[in-house]
């Protein structure tokens, strides 16, 4: 395995949401999705900062799309998860899973741990 890629919690969520949205992932839809699914409100500016940072790191790729009247004629920027981003998500998921798999049921008595 290549070197570990660090991913923050918000970054992880954003990457996953971009994946969920597929071709329709741009800042406003990502924000709505995050709000709807995770019940997590994030301000637009902060989301932009995060999206661009992920792009700079190489986890996201982007291309300019169409514009609408509502946007005052300004284009949308659509994002997609790059191979590197997918790898990073994969890593995070695996490390989590391996931890979950080895949970001692006695320590986690209040929830039912699926084996």
């Amino acid at each position: 395995m290549s070197e570990r890629i660090s991913l923050g919690e918000l970054e992880e969520l954003i990457l996953l949401t971009v994946g969920v949205l597929g071709n329709e992932a741009y800042s406003v839809s990502v924000r709505e999705e995050l709000e709807g699914r995770q019940n997590r409100t994030i301000s637009l500016g902060a989301l932009h900062t995060a999206l661009y940072r992920l792009e700079r790191k190489g986890h996201l790729d982007s291309k300019l799309g169409e514009s609408t009247k509502k946007r005052g004629g300004k284009p949308k920027r659509f994002f997609s998860v790059t191979a590197q981003g997918q790898l990073a998500l994969q890593q995070v998921r695996e490390s989590r899973l391996s931890l979950w798999n080895d949970i001692n049921p006695a320590a986690f008595s209040s929830i039912k741990v699926r084996k």
């Binding site: 301000s43 500016g45 661009y52 509502k70 300004k74 949308k76």
Partner: protein, 887 residues
């Protein structure tokens, strides 16, 4: 895109948004804004836009900076400490906050008001090129008058002769009755003007063509509010309104239809030309076209690089060239003979922006603001500003003395002078921030007070950005100045002095403070004495003997709406009331306007005198006495060739005794009138001016007896009650059921003419309250400082057997010199300053020493009272507590 966030938010966005990705980010922001706007409304949309914009900042980096920066940490702790001391209701902080806000609101309001009054007519696009041509006329007696008008042909002549002048427009005001279909109104803001009106002035036209709206005869342009009044929602363009005017010498028609050719925005309040209707002057045709003795308000527009003295010099030859032939033609008199007889006329131009603040001229459309009024307000504004600054300094300094040890500790731990300096500066900045908030709150609370002053300000002035800006910036300036001085004083204290807490060492500061307190009292003395003088002059104006009895007289208006043949019916109807003592119908009433008409006695030149047209009961109703025994003031029946004159007119004719002037003749527009009697002088105008000549006529004596000879009915009562007004109205309704009954009390009408004086007095009174409040608060804090400093001394003296009286003296002595010198300096200032103001009244109070010293003494007593309270506290203290404790 339908909706957009406010400009300031968009600006903030541009500031914070990274440049390279601006387009798409802006698109995202717009989309979210639209959605929010549709779902939650404008406010929430704006709020979320602001939050989103702010989040564009890279917060992580910023927070790291904040956490690590020493300056920010220091500011946060200062802010917190000050904030807590305010919310914990620390009296001293609250007091300085309150005085600061009151001072800021007062001075901010005054500065705003002054800038408003000086902004008159500046809205014209070329206001620096627009001038009014005034004329200075001198009659054969050597009396001079400055008039806001020039002869009718002067305007065209000036434009054709002077290269510097581009264009002119003339304005003649008339008061017609206007009817359209079934709507009939009396209008007074009706002007005849040239087509060039809209070229010279910048009154935006809403409908119609500004180039040619007033080109043809019998066309009229109305304001938007008049369009609504006469036509409602219908389109006024092309409609014809009927104009009816009284027969007069200045017009050649009495009834004409005018076609509406345009609608113009209502003139702004800060325009000295206040119009509702503008009609084409070409309606008059050739009337008075060559009359070089008449007058009409004339405005000219000059070229941008104009030379005023040069233009003024050119007027004299112009007058000679034109007035000369005119005199020759009409009176067979050469121009040199005209000058020989002592008469003279000259023109001068006045910038349009200066008209409102300059002295009122004869025939000016709207009364301007009194210059000394503005000067008083400016000085009061500055004084309050200084007062507040000084007070804020004093209170904060007193509080700073508490913290000498803190300063000492800080300094010995290695704080530099500038660090202590910035600490105190920052503390005042925090206080300033709160005072700005409080000042804004005060503005809202005191809104009714400002409207009480009846200032002619734009209606929404309370919320106007300029006003709030003025208040906020004065609050900030006050903080800045005083904060700077406090910081400068306290940061110089050496660590040794500070740690010992030896405040006596900082004696210099205390002395300075004492004299600053003197300055505060100086201001308080000035405003208090000024308020006393203004108030007593006002009372004098309202209570002065006017030469007639203004009590219990009720004026019924709109008598002209009643047909002449019904007048007797109306009179009988009212005369039946037991309380009605006397009823007089007249065209003019005291305090109203008067027309100047020309009279000439034998072998003298024309005299322009005001006339009062009234019936035979006028003298009785107004209780005006007659000077000549043979005349009964009960009934002064005059026929078409008889007049009464007042004493001043008699003197101007050159007679000293009423008996001498009787039966003398006056020529009056081709008629000969006989003087039937002399009435005593009464103040038919106001108390600004000396009583001028007056001629009392019956309507029959007028050159052309008008259809409606009377406008007012004056009724004297033995007693006025609301039931009487009802009964009068019933009588009125029997005769004229269609016209509403309109009445007023003579006394109210008369006092309304001193509105600007009352306004000034109420402003000064308000300022006085603020000044005294601030001075008293300053005195309180100062005496506490002295008490703190002297506490040990007092305790020791007490132990050694000093009497309470001695201690009291020790305490009060501190304040003796600052207060007395403040009083002695204020006195001559008030006397000269207010003497000038009073001198514009022909009838005025004498500024006696009692008035000034009494008001001064009042304030001194108040100050002594406050000192006594503090002194008693000092004298009654338990010496043991203070001797053994080292402060």
């Amino acid at each position: 895109m339908k909706v957009q966030p406010p400009k300031i938010l968009r600006w903030l966005f541009l500031l914070l948004c990274p440049r390279e990705r601006r387009a798409e980010i802006k698109g995202d922001f717009n989309e979210v804004y639209q959605t929010n706007f549709e779902d939650h409304g404008r406010f929430k949309a704006n709020l979320s836009y602001l939050r989103n914009t702010l989040s564009l900042l890279n917060f992580e980096g910023y927070l790291r900076f904040v956490k690590l920066s020493n300056h920010i940490i220091m500011f946060r702790s200062t802010f917190k400490a000050k904030f807590r001391s305010i919310v914990r209701f620390k009296p001293s902080a609250i007091i300085s906050l309150i005085t600061l806000s009151i001072g800021a609101v007062t001075s901010g309001f005054l500065f705003y008001y002054i800038s408003y009054e000086s902004s008159y007519d500046e809205f014209h696009a070329d206001s620096d090129q627009i001038y009014r041509v005034n004329s200075m006329a001198q009659n054969a007696n050597g009396d001079q008058s400055v008039r806001a008008f020039v002869p009718m042909p002067a305007g065209p002549e000036i434009v054709s002769e002077f290269d510097e002048v581009i264009d002119f427009t003339r304005l003649q005001r008339i008061s017609p009755t206007i009817s359209y279909q079934n709507k009939v109104f009396e209008e007074s803001r009706f002007f005849l003007t040239d087509n060039s009106f809209f070229d010279i002035f910048s009154f935006p036209i809403v409908k119609g063509n500004s180039v040619s709206a007033l080109a043809s005869p019998q066309t009229v342009v109305l304001t938007e509010s008049m369009a609504k009044k006469y036509f409602g929602l219908a389109d006024p363009m092309g409609e014809v309104i009927q104009i009816n005017v009284k027969k007069s010498f200045s017009l050649n028609f009495t009834s004409k239809g005018f076609t509406v050719t345009g609608v113009v925005q209502d003139p702004p309040k800060n325009s000295h030309i206040q119009f509702d209707f503008l009609a084409s002057i070409s309606t008059l045709g050739d009337f008075k076209k060559d009359d070089w003795l008449g007058g009409i308000a004339t405005y000219i527009k000059v070229k941008p690089d104009h030379n005023i003295p040069l233009i003024n010099q050119k007027f004299s030859p112009l007058i000679r060239e034109n007035l000369g032939p005119y005199l020759q033609g009409r009176f067979n008199m050469s121009f040199d003979d005209y000058l020989e007889s002592g008469r003279d006329v000259s023109f001068a131009i006045q910038p349009i922006t200066a008209i409102h603040t300059a002295a009122d001229l004869d025939g000016q459309f709207e009364k301007g603001v009194n210059k000394s009024f503005l000067r008083v307000l400016i000085s009061v504004g500055i004084l309050i500003f200084i007062l507040t600054t000084v007070n804020f300094f004093n209170i904060s300094f007193a509080n700073g003395l508490h913290r000498l040890k803190e300063i000492g500790v800080r300094k010995s731990l290695g704080a530099f002078k500038y660090q202590v300096f910035s600490l105190f500066l920052m503390e005042s900045a925090v206080l300033g921030l709160f005072s700005v908030l409080m000042a804004a709150l005060l503005v809202v609370i005191t809104k009714p007070f400002f409207s009480l002053l009846q200032l002619e300000l734009p209606l929404n002035f309370e919320l106007s950005a300029d006003f709030i800006l003025a208040v906020v910036s004065s609050a900030f300036l006050i903080c800045l100045f005083s904060g700077f001085f406090i910081a400068a004083t306290l940061s110089t204290i050496s660590p040794k002095e500070g740690l010992r807490g030896n405040v006596l060492r900082s004696h210099r500061g205390i002395n300075l403070q004492k004299w600053l307190l003197g300055l505060q009292f100086f201001v308080a003395f000035i405003t208090l004495m000024a308020a006393a003088v203004f108030q007593s002059q006002n009372d004098y104006l309202l209570k002065a003997d006017l030469g007639f009895d203004e009590e219990k007289v009720l004026i019924v208006h709109q008598i002209e709406k009643v047909q002449s043949k019904e007048h007797q019916v109306l009179r009988n109807e009212w005369a039946n009331l037991p309380e009605a003592k006397s009823i007089s119908l007249s065209y003019h009433i005291p305090g109203g306007g008067f027309e100047m008409l020309e009279f000439s006695a034998q072998e003298s030149e024309p005299l322009k005198w005001p006339v009062l047209v009234a019936d035979e009961h006028f003298l009785q109703t107004y209780a005006i006495s007659a000077l000549y025994d043979g005349m009964s003031s009960e009934v002064a029946q005059l026929d078409s060739s008889e007049v009464l004159i007042n004493e001043s007119a008699m003197r101007e004719l050159g007679y000293l005794e009423a008996t001498e002037v009787l039966e003398k003749k006056l020529d009056f527009y081709g008629k000969t009138l006989t003087i039937k009697g002399v009435i005593s002088d009464f103040h038919y105008e106001n108390l600004y001016n000396q009583i001028a000549p007056l001629v009392l006529l019956s309507p029959l004596a007028l050159p052309e007896p008008p259809l409606n000879p009377y406008k007012y009915a004056s009724i004297r009562f033995s007693d006025i009650s609301p039931e009487i007004v009802d009964q009068l109205e019933q009588g009125w309704n029997k005769v004229s059921p269609t016209t509403p009954f309109a009445f007023s009390y003579l006394k109210d009408d008369l006092s309304a003419s001193y509105l600007s004086e009352q306004r000034l007095a109420s402003m000064i009174k308000g300022a006085t309250i603020v000044a005294i409040l601030i001075a008293i608060l300053g005195l309180t804090s100062m005496s506490q400082v002295i008490f703190r400093i002297k506490v040990k001394e007092i305790a020791m003296r007490k132990v050694l057997g000093a009497s309470p009286a001695k201690l009291y003296e020790l305490f009060v002595r501190q304040f003796f010199w600052p207060l007395s010198i403040a009083f002695l300096c204020a006195l001559p200032l008030v006397v000269t300053f207010l003497g000038e103001w009073l001198s514009k009244f022909a009838y005025r109070i004498s500024m006696g020493w009692q008035l000034l010293t009494l008001s001064g003494l009042g304030l001194i007593l108040l100050a002594l009272g406050i000192l006594t309270v503090n002194a008693l506290r000092a004298a009654r203290q338990n010496p043991v507590e203070h001797i053994k404790v080292d402060h």
